[in-house]
């Protein structure tokens, strides 16, 4: 009995020790600078429903403690040099801090002595963020691919699940490239992604039903590539692209992905029918996106004339790759007749020696986000690529400095309430793309971007895959990976071409 009591006491003591909060050192020497922490969460504005912002203290310390002071009290955390915040405590903290701030004091034991760093704030916005995001996880490879997944992450927790994993139906010669996941109005009952190579086709979920479609017709240059769901109609705009890749021998951009030809098509989901939106000669149209009311289609187009008949177009494109610069256009759309008219250039990037790609309109229709670099269309590989915002009323564009870094930023997107921006950034190391989120307040001001939190704050350092094309969703994908895999094995339904 005595032994049992002792053991019980020990067990309780262990549990308390494991769950307890470390004490703040009393003899710390004050430093006037901010601590070096990763991810950098200093002075960021976060949604009121996001998971804990765990971080690592990178001061070469042996121990670290953080004290989080919020309107309801204060709590301390620290495990070695990692600040791992309890999820339920964090939830309470956020609830109490809505519209206010959490003050963070960081203490680190460096060379045996404790140092207290300048405290910083984590501002908690009253605006929540969409609960889910999805992205493609891919090694930043060149031609080869293996082990790709399109995954969904619950931003209110650390839970991540596969939407589809290309290993589920085959590898090597039976392997697939999967890409371009896209949703209608942030919901998942109408969504799609493409599969290339083995068992190729577009996996389309229409009103919850999974179909596999072959969007290539004799009249179009490829199957559908970059998609955009119409917000109200059962229509999807796609680009069609003849795409190639080549590699820089010296330039640190390393890869160029180029379209030798590209057009725009409209796919009618109900009729399973493809029609042409734009196939202008000497124009490379790409990246369609709809206005929230569905009355306008925005897209990018580069004017490019092939001049040398004696070489192949691919070769000429490779030789003149720096001349390809995309502008942003808009065209009116009549949903009744399904026709486009009044195409106009709304942003002339080429005129200032730049190339604008990946446009996205804010849910209130006031702003357009895009990625801009010196040339080309594949800005995820362009170190000079930054996110810009275009005021659609004034037509003024400005660099969204709050979300940019001196490395590549691309794939901007809006949350469904328009208060959060998500971008892909290579700021950590220049090669591996990570999702970053920034608050966009009611006054049209962006705030400092922060990296999507992970349970292990060092996760991104060890992770050798990129987060490609992050998208917001207000609900998880309900079709299981197994259902997608089953459908993948079926023959694709051929789309017809409407004259």
């Amino acid at each position: 009995m005595k032994l049992r009591n002792i053991l019980s006491a020990c067990a309780i003591a262990l549990i308390i020790a494991a769950c307890g909060h470390p004490s703040v050192p009393t003899d710390a020497k004050q430093e006037s600078r901010l601590p070096k922490i990763y991810p950098d969460y200093t002075e960021v504005t976060i949604p009121c429903n996001i998971c804990p912002l765990n971080f690592a203290v990178q001061e070469g310390a042996t121990e670290a403690v953080a004290r989080l002071t919020y309107p309801g009290g204060e709590l301390t955390y620290g495990e070695d040099c990692n600040i791992l915040i309890d999820e339920s405590e964090w939830k309470d903290m956020l609830e109490a801090s809505k519209g206010k701030s959490i003050k963070v004091d960081v203490f680190a034991k460096v060379n045996g002595s404790w140092i207290a760093y300048k405290p910083f704030n984590i501002n908690v916005a009253e605006d929540p963020i969409d609960q889910y995001i999805s992205y493609r996880l891919i090694q930043p490879s060149y031609v080869a691919y293996e082990q790709l997944s399109i995954s969904q992450r619950d931003l209110t927790s650390f839970e991540e699940k596969d939407i589809y994993n290309n290993m589920s139906v085959g590898t090597e010669k039976d392997g697939q490239c999967i890409n371009c996941h896209s949703y209608k109005n942030y919901k998942t009952d109408n969504m799609l992604f493409h599969m290339r190579q083995a068992l190729g086709g577009t996996m389309l979920v229409s009103n919850g039903e999974v179909k596999k479609i072959d969007l290539k017709t004799e009249q179009t240059i490829s199957a559908g590539v970059y998609p955009a769901w119409h917000p109200t109609e059962n229509l999807i705009a796609f680009s069609t692209n003849k795409t190639g890749q080549s590699f820089h021998t010296k330039d640190l951009n390393k890869i160029e992905v180029q379209d030798t030809y590209s057009d725009l098509i409209l796919y009618d989901v109900d009729k399973n029918e493809v029609s042409i939106i734009s196939e202008l000669d000497d124009e490379l149209e790409v990246f369609p996106t709809w206005s929230p009311d569905g009355k306008k289609l925005y897209f990018c187009s580069a004017h490019f004339e092939y001049l040398n008949d004696s070489i192949e177009t691919e070769t000429e494109m490779i030789q003149r790759y720096r001349e390809v610069q995309y502008d942003i256009y808009a065209a009116d759309f009549d949903a009744k007749t399904k026709t486009f008219s009044n195409m106009e250039k709304i942003y002339d990037a080429a005129a200032i020696g730049k190339s604008a790609t990946l446009p996205r309109i804010s849910p209130d229709g006031k702003y357009l986000l895009f990625a801009q670099a010196n040339y080309g269309c594949f800005h995820v590989w362009h170190n000079d690529a930054d996110i810009f915002i275009l005021d659609l009323n004034t037509k003024e564009a400005k660099n969204l400095k709050e979300v940019n870094s001196d490395r590549s930023e691309s794939y901007p997107t809006w949350s469904s309430n328009g208060r959060w921006i998500m971008v892909d950034s290579r700021r950590d190391d220049g090669n591996y793309t990570r999702p970053f989120i920034a608050y966009f307040d009611k006054n049209g001001k962006a705030h400092k971007a922060f990296e999507v939190p992970q349970k292990d704050p060092n996760f991104y350092t060890y992770f050798l895959r990129s987060y490609n094309r992050p998208e917001f969703m207000i609900e998880p994908v309900k079709v299981t990976p197994q259902e997608f895999a089953k459908k993948a094995k079926e023959d694709a339904i051929k789309a017809s071409f409407a004259n």
Binding site: S141, L252, G430, Y462
Partner: protein, 553 residues
């Protein structure tokens, strides 16, 4: 004494000798390569990713594979696992002493599975390959042994034990690995795994009921063991070029260029193209590239053990490009091969080096952080951390000194090697017009000769000759120009344009005369080449006229 001399123990001892011979003695370089082309990191994310993609055994196997860093240590662990499994199985199946060699069949199969792979080592993406199956086998044997000891009646029957064993084996995750990539596959390499999994069926046979005299039984079992030894010897991929390539790669990785050259000089047969490339890298970095034809430069295709379409780019594209100063392409192949065939210790090191040369220090730091999580490569990582922390350490490194002169060519362009890295390097350098260092100039001129593009060579030689005519012109350059001058439509005239050592001119005349005389006798070039090789095999002329099977891969 009687106990020690039990046949079961003698078998175990004989198997240990067999395994020791075929692992650390005959295949030390292979075992080292297994761990270089493997990776184990002590992080939860590595565990989660390995387990979710390849299973728990792959993670356990990856952990154990790293001990091949010291081939004897890793071999000892692997052999120990097999011996323990052997005793467990022999006990579970109550093998009579004299029939106990039968219980060695699965372990000989697993031994063969390690040493038979040949070039597949660079292609299979099965983390922990060498250990994962054996570890799984050991646990299945342990559980089966437990069942055989606890069970009663029906459970104790051999057939039931065999069924239990096979059931447990597959339930806990034993799988037959796949040897396929693109359109290539080799089922024969799966056979040892199938034999190992099916061997409990042989063990279930009631050998004790076979009425044979003791000498006959001993004879049969000795025969069985001899057969197992023969099978191991026959299936062991012993191709000397394959082994030399691994030795040369390791030496290159450690900047031991003289050792690369020693290995190149030691080979008896024809070298593979990859060995020729490695050899020329070593010559380049030791300032002896003009000796390019003194050590056999006539590469052959690799002796792949099946139809596997081996490419230099797939095996060591990152190393080859790096050594030639093509950092972006080296980085590309490090990533590309990592995607297709798994991220490995050696690739992380290459990616780190590329990142440092490209001044992408955050990226370099990332790769070092990963290497620091390994058991045997963390010291390398700590050692190379100074490349980032203190630039002077990088600038004074052997690698910087060797590779920097090759970088200094600022022209950037878009290109693709179509997975033929040797061809790309030869074309790239022989086409370069403005060398920015003497090392680069030497490389340009020698690659022109390597590709038998004597006119590209000549473009640079005029300038070179004018700058160096008083210092002595390398023999190989003289040989090339002398040969060119002998052509009827040659734009150059010896004596007028260039003055060379008359002994070399005379040697060439002898070569030409001998060649002509054999031709007049009606001999074919291949035969003439063999005849002239002892006298002229180290000359550019011999290479130019008789190395006609230049096949890139």
């Amino acid at each position: 004494m009687h106990n020690i001399l039990k046949i079961k123990h003698i078998n175990a001892f004989a198997f240990i000798l067999l395994a020791v011979f075929f692992l650390p003695i005959a295949n030390a370089d292979l075992l080292y390569t297994w761990q270089e082309y493997g990776l184990f990191m002590s992080t939860s994310s590595f565990m989660a990713e390995t387990v979710s993609n390849y299973g728990l055994w792959a993670w356990i196997g990856s952990y154990l594979t790293q001990f091949f860093y010291y081939p004897w240590l890793g071999s000892g662990m692997l052999i120990a696992m097999w011996i323990i499994s052997y005793y467990l199985i022999a006990s579970a199946f109550k093998m009579q002493d004299e029939w106990s060699p039968i219980a060695l069949i699965p372990f000989v199969s697993l031994l063969i599975s390690v040493v038979q792979v040949g070039y597949w080592i660079y292609y299979i993406n099965t983390p922990g390959y060498c250990f994962s199956f054996s570890a799984c086998y050991l646990i299945a044997a342990l559980i089966t042994w437990g069942v055989s000891k606890i069970g009663k009646g029906f459970i104790k029957r051999r057939l039931t034990i065999a069924a239990v064993f096979i059931g447990i084996l597959f339930t806990i995750g034993y799988r037959i690995p796949s040897f396929s990539r693109s359109e290539y596959s080799d089922f024969s390499l799966c056979i040892p795994f199938i034999v190992a999994a099916a061997s409990p069926v042989f063990l279930a046979i009631p050998y004790e009921k076979v009425k044979l005299s003791m000498p006959l039984r001993t004879g049969i079992m000795s025969g069985v063991f001899a057969l197992m030894c023969m099978a191991t010897a026959m299936l062991n991929f012993s191709n000397s070029n394959f082994h030399s390539e691994m030795k040369m790669y390791k030496a290159l990785d450690e900047s031991r260029y003289e050792d690369v050259l020693k290995e190149a000089q030691s080979i008896k047969g024809e070298p593979s193209n990859m060995m020729v490339v490695y050899k020329n890298i070593a010559l380049l970095h030791t300032g002896k590239l003009t000796d390019i034809f003194k050590v056999n430069n006539c590469g052959i295709q690799p002796a792949a053990n099946d139809s596997l379409n081996v490419r230099i780019a797939h095996i060591s594209g990152e190393m080859v490009y790096y050594q030639f100063g093509q950092i972006n392409f080296a980085y590309r192949w490090g990533v590309e091969n990592g995607v297709k065939r798994g991220m490995t210790n050696t690739r992380l090191k290459m990616l780190f080096r590329c990142a440092v040369f490209n001044k992408e220090f955050d990226l370099a730091h990332k790769y070092l952080t990963l290497l620091k999580k390994t058991t045997f490569h963390k010291d390398w990582a700590k050692e190379h951390e100074n490349w980032i922390m203190r630039g002077s350490d990088f600038f004074s490194s052997v690698e910087y000194e060797n590779i920097y002169p090759l970088l200094d060519e600022d022209i950037n362009y878009l290109d693709d090697d179509q997975s033929f890295c040797e061809k790309w390097i030869l074309d790239h350098f022989s086409d370069l017009v403005h060398p920015t260092s003497s090392k680069l100039e030497e490389l340009i001129m020698c690659t022109a000769l390597w590709t038998e593009d004597e006119y590209s060579f000549l473009v640079h030689f005029y300038d070179y000759y004018n700058r160096h005519k008083n210092e002595g012109i390398p023999l190989v350059y003289q040989e090339a120009v002398i040969m060119l001058a002998s052509n009827e439509d040659s734009p150059i005239t010896l004596g007028k344009d260039f003055r060379f050592d008359p002994i070399i001119v005379e040697r060439f005349n002898n070569f030409a005369a001998e060649y002509q005389s054999y031709t007049q006798k009606g001999m074919e070039d291949k035969e003439i080449g063999k005849k002239l090789k002892p006298m002229f095999g180290d000359t550019y002329w011999w290479y130019y006229y008789f190395y006609t099977d230049f096949m890139i891969y």
